[in-house]
Each structure stands twice: as C-alpha cells, then as structure tokens.
Symmetry: C2
Subunit: 412 residues, 2 copies
C-alpha cells in the first residue's frame, strides 16, 4: 500500500498539471476501451457473479455486482459526460484589485490523492476514476473483494485510456488485494492520501470514519423528510410523497418520514394511505395519524430515527412549519428534506432554516443526486458540514487556493 | 463544557436565522461597548500583565497580551469592518434549471458552532467573535489563561452588544476556566461543536489536531519561499526579498527560504547580502550561495525544513523554475510562496504548479493575510487542502448546501 501511495502521490502531481484536452482524451479513450472490451468484461463479471452465488451472496448484492449491458452503457455514457463537463482545475474567480495594488483571487486546484472505498459495485470503479481524473486528482480505488475480476478488467481499460492520452497509469490504481488490512493502511497514509471517500453501508462508513486519520467525505444516514404544508397543492403533495417513498426503496434519498400539517392531514392522508397500500408500504404513524388511517400502526420514538431503506414509512402530523423544521433538524440526518407548499414565505423559511445538505420546495427528495443536479456524476453524498455538502461532484474533489498578482508590491 | 456546548448549539440555531441588520447592529453595539469601556478594559488588562510579569512571562508573550490603545482602536475598527462586509449567509448562487424542470442552486450556510483555541491575545477574542457572528455561527472562545481578566471584560462588552441587538448572549461564550481539561473536552464534543480553529504555536496546534475528534482548520508551519527567477526585475526582487524576510520576523507569512536562479544570483545576491547585513539577518546558504556571499554559513538539510521566525534566512541557488517548484512542493509547508519574474509563461506555471494556499507573482509573502486579501479579517490560516486554504474569513466559516425549487416534479 505504501508503494501504491507513493506512486499515487507522484501521479497526482502529473495529473494536476495535465491540460484539459489531455484529461478529456483519456476519458474518451477509457470509454472506447470499455466498449471494445465489453465481451471480456462480461466474462470477468460472470466469474465474480458465480463466485458470489457460490458464497451465498444475497440477491441485492448480486444485483449490484452485475455488469448488465445497460450498466456498461451507463459507464460509457458517464465517461463521455464527465469529459464534456467544464474543467474545474485552474479556474480563477474573484480576482480583484486591493488598495495595496495587488490583485487577489482564488484558483481552483485538485485535492491531490483520493482514496475511495466501496462495495462490490464495479460500475463505481469507472465513475469514481472519471471524476477524480477530470478534477486533476490521482485515486486509489478499493472495491469489494467480490468484484475483483470485474475491477481488474475495468482497471485494464482505464490504464489503456490513460496511456493513450500520455498520462501516467498510476493516476488510477485499483487495489487488487482482498486483504482487509489494506483498507486500514489506506485510511491512515496521511503522507500519500489527502481524502477518503467511503461508499456503502452505514457500518462500513462508520468504521472508516472512526479509524481514518485522513479527512473523510461521507454520509452515514439518509433520513429524508417530506413536509406537506397546510398550503400545499394536493396533487403535488400526493405525487411527491408517493414518488419520494416508492420510486426506489433502498436508496439514501428516499423519504423515510412524512410530516403533514394538521389542517391538511384529513384531506391528504386518506388518499396517500390508499396509494401506499397499493404499493404495500407499511405505515407507522403518530396517534393523530392512526386516527386518520386505520391501517397505520403506532410509531415509536425509534421510528423517527430510522432509515428503513424498505417499504415502510413513518408519518407524523405537526401543527405547522415550526414543528416540522424542529422535527427535521432534530431527527433528520442532514441529507435531503422537501416542503410541499404554495406559500412563498414558508417556502423561503424552510429553505433557509432546514440545516440539510439538500433542501427542496415542491420536488421529490429522489432528485438529490449528482446527475439530476447537473454535476455530471457524483463521487458520493456528504452530510458533513465542512468542505462539501450534498452530492459531491468535480467541485467537491477540488479546493481553492489564493493567487496574488503584483508589480513588485511590498507590505508597508 | 457540556453545558456551554448545549447553549452554543441552541444559540447557533438562532444566530443562523438572524437577519443581516441584526447581526450588523450587534457588531456595532459591541464596538460601542468596547469604546465606552476602554478605561476598565485597560485596568483588567493591567491585572493580566502584572500577573504575567510576576509569573515571568517572556517579553514577546507580554507584548501579545497587552491591549494598547492602538490595539483597542484596531478591535473597534475590525468590528466596524466586519459589519460592513456583505453577509455571506443565505447567498444563493448558480441557480439553474435542469432538464427535469427543477432549479438547482447552492445556498451559503453557517457551519454551526466554532471552537477557537488561542494564546493570551485578548484582541483575538473580538476578531474571532466578530467573524463567527457575521457568518451566522455561535462560538466558544478559549484564550490563554494569562488573559483571563481581559477576556472577561471583553466578553461582557460582547454580551451587551448581542443583547442590544436582540440576539442570544450564548452566541459568543468565553471559557473562563484555566483548567486545561476544558480544551480536551471542547475538541471532542462532536455533538455540540462543528469545527475547531486553533491559533498559536506549532506544539499547541499539533496537539489539538492530534487529539481532536472534530474537524480542525489549521496551519502548522509557515515555511514560505520567494523564488527570484532569471527574468526577475532586479529592483522588485530586492524589495520583495527584503520585505518578505525583514518586515516582521515572528509571523507565519515571513519568507524563510530564498531561492535564486543561477544566472541572476551573481547580480542579486551581493546586493541582498548587504541589505540583510544592515538588518543583521543571518544567512545560511547552499555551496554556490556561500561562494557568492562571504558572510553566509553553510545550510544543512534541516535548514530547508525550518521555520525560523527569526532574523535567519536560508538561501539556495537553483537551476530554474522546475527546481524551484520541486523544492517548494517538497520542503515548503503549503503556506505562501512567491515568484519574482517578468516572464509570462513562467509566472503562469508557478501559479498553477505550486501547491500552496497562497501563490504569488511579484509580491511579498507578507501580503498573505485576511485584511490584505479583503476578507475583512481572518480567523486563521489553513494549509490543509479540504474546505478552506489560506487566510480563513467569512467564507471559510460557512459552507454551501443545495437548494432545489420545483413545481411538483417527481423523479421518472
């Protein structure tokens, strides 16, 4: 790992200077290599799938492990999209003259070396590499050991792309050992790694952020809320509450708790209850909710804290905006929260006062996503407060330094 | 401390919602209170100074402890300046329509609660409080125990200012205990504190960043370089190299190593050597330097790594830009580095390739400072890569969340 780290640091310096054209060429050449190798990629992926089945991996994990033709297409499309994004590196902003005569501005610069730790999802290998590369960073990718054949095959495509563009192969390194100690080393190599991005289950992320001595960009939970305000448009409220819960269950931006203003609850909850019933979503409500929805069971305190990632929804009736905001800031995970309202003042207050990484008005929480936000892709989602909040794209993989232009000025 | 933390968290929520006018009013009222209390502030400061002398504090520490009339003036001016700065909180940028119909942008938001740990410099109490307040954060200030009387008196002025503006007094809390364990608790209260800013000597900062479980904004060293390029203007080179070293010795943005291109060294070094001799600056040079400057002693490997904070300068002759950049990225501390050159292409390369928090062309490193950069003031300087690099002002005390405006959009 030390060797990998040293190579990454060196490659990072080269890639930080690479010009935009070179980086874009590398991305497109990687896409070409993947397209050309799709048959052998499928074969390698089958090896992983077979081994996974033999090991008794569950269906959801096998699903994430599989490189279906559409996922390979998505990988290729992702590379092309990232190539088309503006290069963030070197962008100078706010360059202004100061009374002393110097000009002071900020230049966007790469972070250096990014360590990414993720589960057995081979498509993440390409997405992560593409974003790191475009942002001028070297990266060390450590995917789940069950995807080792797929990752090796993808790594070979990435190497070919980098070579074709005249960039150092070590700019993207895939950790090939299944040894768990490698992760422990990766997250403490301060000298060689500047930031760690863990992706996966909560326990993995918790362990990594506790043990890392390198800064970590992460989110632990996605306890997302939709608040249906008294002034909500009923159709929008129903559509959003349904979409936020049922569009996909196992994702971090799915709604887990629905808050409803007391005065609109009798109108909106019966309609929603029926729609949720059709989708077999279990409802757990506060006392008032249960009096409006027969099929709801009583929620306990633990429900407000729970990220179900399943067809279960907690519902609470609140007096109004203040209680909704208080509930969200107390029980939420600072991920994504949405208000449904036609009231201008309340919408404005919700946007400012809800302390989450994504705050929405009249939109489904499911939009909290790098692609939907136009970031091109995301390396992960951050619910921390420093550096980056929400979906982390190219900007989150860079930082800004100060640049000063003078004509010989000295400090008086 | 837990109690302080809880109060800070609560006050932080209130201050994050406070409007700009209210925050500015508080800043101006604090300034008024300090002006009105200047006589009693001086008395309290005298108690600290007397106790410091009795304890045998060194002259430099006593100097930092003293609230001279001009420092009190500067505190008042600082408050007025911060009040005049644009409010960063709530600023929405890059709000753009996406193909789905939603509008996605970023809103600048406070970090929450900032813990600041500093030496016995009472003026820092006001500067730090002003910046935190304007950025919508609550803060917990822990100054050196030798400044306890001064800090209490200043804290009373801050309280009055906050009250006069209708803001919670707990938005700025000064830790009054001299107990060192308080620091240990402050830097691990994850639940109540979002970021720690340590200011002071390297050992203090090192200890805090090793022991903190909360993110730390810090710089350890200021090993700043000036590189005099072959195409440098001789007058600018001499003025900048002299100013960067001798304007003040004990500051982190003073030059510690001078790099000189081989071809210009015979012209520039003798002039500089004479000027440094007049200021009694000790010169430690590489072999080539020593052959040009009789009075220079041979530098050892350790010299390139050293932040002297004293009238000592290391000098190295390099072949050109590549060696200069390599030296800076290897031995520097990513603080502030400057090139003196009239060469457009080399200046442009230096700006991009030197990986420091401030990179300059034809300006003295002494400009690396919040006031000089127009940030109003600085809470500290960061040489880390995440979140903020260089002087940290209002922006560094905030972060950005995503805001999404829709008309009922759902994810397809």
């Amino acid at each position: 790992m030390q060797q990998l780290g040293r190579q990454a640091r060196q490659a990072g310096r080269a890639i930080s200077k690479a010009d935009t054209g070179q980086k874009n060429l590398a991305l497109l050449k990687i896409a070409e290599a993947i397209a050309a190798d799709s048959a052998s990629l499928a074969l390698e992926n089958h090896k992983d799938l077979q081994a996974g089945r033999d090991k008794g991996m569950d269906a959801a994990s096998l699903d994430r492990l599989e490189l279906t033709p559409s996922r390979v297409e998505a990988m290729i499309a992702g590379l092309t999209q990232v190539a088309a994004l503006p290069d963030p590196v070197g962008e100078i902003t706010e360059l202004r003259y100061r009374p002393s005569g110097i000009q002071v501005g900020k230049m966007r610069v790469p972070l250096g070396v990014i360590g990414i730790i993720y589960e057995s999802r081979p498509n993440v290998t390409v997405d992560a590499a593409a974003l790191c590369l475009k942002a001028g960073n070297a990266c060390i990718l450590r995917g789940g050991s069950e995807s080792i054949h797929s990752n090796r095959a993808i790594a070979a495509c990435i190497s070919r792309g980098l070579q074709a563009a005249g960039l150092p192969e070590q700019a993207v390194q895939v950790v090939e050992t299944a040894d768990r100690a490698a992760v422990g080393e990766l997250i403490t190599m301060k000298e060689f790694v500047d930031v760690i991005v863990p992706r996966g289950g909560k326990s993995l992320i918790e362990r990594i952020s506790n043990e890392a001595s390198i800064p970590v960009i992460k989110h632990l939970d996605g306890i997302c809320h939709v608040y249906i305000d008294a002034k909500a448009d009923l159709d929008k409220a129903v559509a959003i509450a349904l979409n936020a819960k049922t569009h996909r269950y196992g994702v971090c931006n799915a709604m887990e708790t629905l808050l409803v203003a007391e005065s609109i609850a009798p109108q909106v909850l019966p309609i929603l209850a029926q729609k949720y019933a059709e989708k077999q979503v279990e409802l757990r409500g506060c006392l008032k909710t249960c009096s409006l929805i027969e099929t709801a069971v009583r929620a306990t305190e633990a429900d407000w804290h729970t990220e179900y990632l399943a067809p279960i929804l907690a519902i609470k009736i609140v007096t109004g905006l203040d209680e909704a905001i208080e509930h969200i800031n107390h029980y939420g995970s600072a991920h994504t929260d949405s208000i449904v309202t036609e009231d201008y003042t309340l919408a404005r207050r919700f946007l400012r006062e809800v302390d989450s990484s994504s705050v929405m008005v009249n939109a489904s929480t499911r939009f909290a996503d790098g692609f939907e936000y136009g970031l091109g892709a995301e390396i992960g989602i951050s619910t921390d407060k420093l550096h980056a909040r929400g979906p982390v794209g190219l900007h989150g993989l860079t930082s800004e330094k100060f640049v000063v232009l003078g004509d010989g000025q000295i400090r008086q």
